[in-house]
């Protein structure tokens, strides 16, 4: 049966993951809206997951650790999204804004 491992070389997948990570990082750094930052972070987490799955599939397909770790990452991402969004709502309620550059009480 033909499979991904024969059709696509591993570096392609890793490059895709790296690109996705960098795009997500750009989003997280450049967005004004706090929710937008969160979107960027989700992209970064997905990039990590692609990496994990790719390494699992290409290098150790019969060891289950890669998928397991990806699942843990998804779990953590879900928890992070829930808490992050709750914090955004709390900030919005307290300050009537969701713009990250207006939330700078710690400015020196």
């Amino acid at each position: 049966m033909p499979s991904m491992t024969e059709a696509v070389p591993l570096p392609w997948v890793l490059t895709l993951a790296g690109a996705l990570f960098c795009v997500g990082l750009f989003g997280a750094l450049s967005r004004r809206n706090t929710v937008g930052i969160l979107l960027g972070i989700e992209l970064m987490l997905n990039a990590v997951n692609i990496n994990l799955i790719a390494f699992w599939r290409y290098l150790e397909p019969n060891v289950v650790a890669g998928q397991t770790f990806a699942l843990f990452v998804i779990t953590v991402a879900a928890a992070e999204a829930a808490v992050g969004l709750a914090m955004i709502i709390a900030i919005y309620r307290a300050r009537q804004t969701v713009n990250a550059d207006e939330v700078d009480s710690l400015r020196g």
């Binding site: 059709a7 990082l25 397909p61 998928q67 991402a77 879900a78 709390a90």
Partner: protein, 229 residues
């Protein structure tokens, strides 16, 4: 697909997989770029969902069915809905018309670009990956699936599994606590029985000497604050 395999099939399938991979990669990257650049935050979230779909399809392509489906279930079904909810709860209408990027967005462009160009690409391209040898012909490669994941969660990764469960619980409670809005005093619609009883009591009260109601002012203030929230 049956037992019958022509050599063309393998070749064609390989091409097909490559093409599919490229399509998915394009979908993922385009959606991701749209996510981080598009002006409207709701559109950004929708683009993010499209990117999630691409990643899920990529998982399916890599024969991680369980993860692909879990990706759709958790990211598309839960996380993005959560994000959409949060956007709609915090939407300020004028804000969505303003600029979406921070003033120093060029810094934010340089850092990821440097990361990608200077580190990721050279590392990925120059590293020698020790790929395992392909399985002997006619024998399917041993690929761990959902059942192995379940077994692993109950055996080797039992403790992390429990920790993840606790983490989710804690996150849920934390999210509720953080986002919880305490109503000052909830004004409830009275049931019919309560209204009747209330009227009776009022009449009983009016028969003796009417005394000044100290509670009246307090209620007014509470109404004022209650109306605000």
């Amino acid at each position: 697909m049956g037992q019958y395999q022509s050599p063309c099939l393998v070749l064609c399938m390989n091409t097909l997989i490559t093409v599919l991979f490229l399509i998915f990669a394009a979908l993922i990257l385009t959606s991701a770029i749209m996510t981080v650049t598009v002006k409207n935050i709701v559109h950004a979230a929708l683009w993010l969902i499209s990117s999630f779909f691409g990643v899920g399809a990529l998982y399916l392509l890599m024969e991680a069915e369980f993860l692909g489906v879990a990706q759709v279930l958790i990211y598309v079904g839960a996380v993005s809905i959560l994000i959409l909810f949060a956007i709609m709860l915090t939407r300020d209408l004028e804000g969505s018309q303003n600029r979406q990027l921070t003033p120093r967005w060029w810094i934010a462009l340089i850092v990821p670009a440097a990361l990608f160009g200077l580190l990721i690409v050279p590392t990925v391209m120059t590293h020698a990956w020790q790929l395992p040898p392909p399985p002997p012909a006619g024998q399917p490669p041993a690929i761990s699936g959902a059942q192995q994941i379940g077994t692993a969660f109950m055996r080797e990764y039992f403790l992390p599994f429990q920790v993840a469960a606790i983490l989710l619980t804690v996150a849920m409670i934390g999210a509720i606590v953080i986002a919880f809005e305490e109503r000052e005093r909830r004004r409830r619609v009275l049931t019919l029985v309560e209204q009747v009883r209330l009227r009776q009591r009022q009449q009983q009260r009016q028969q003796p000497a009417p005394r000044p109601e100290p509670a009246a002012t307090a209620v007014q203030t509470s109404e004022a604050t209650g109306g605000e929230t």
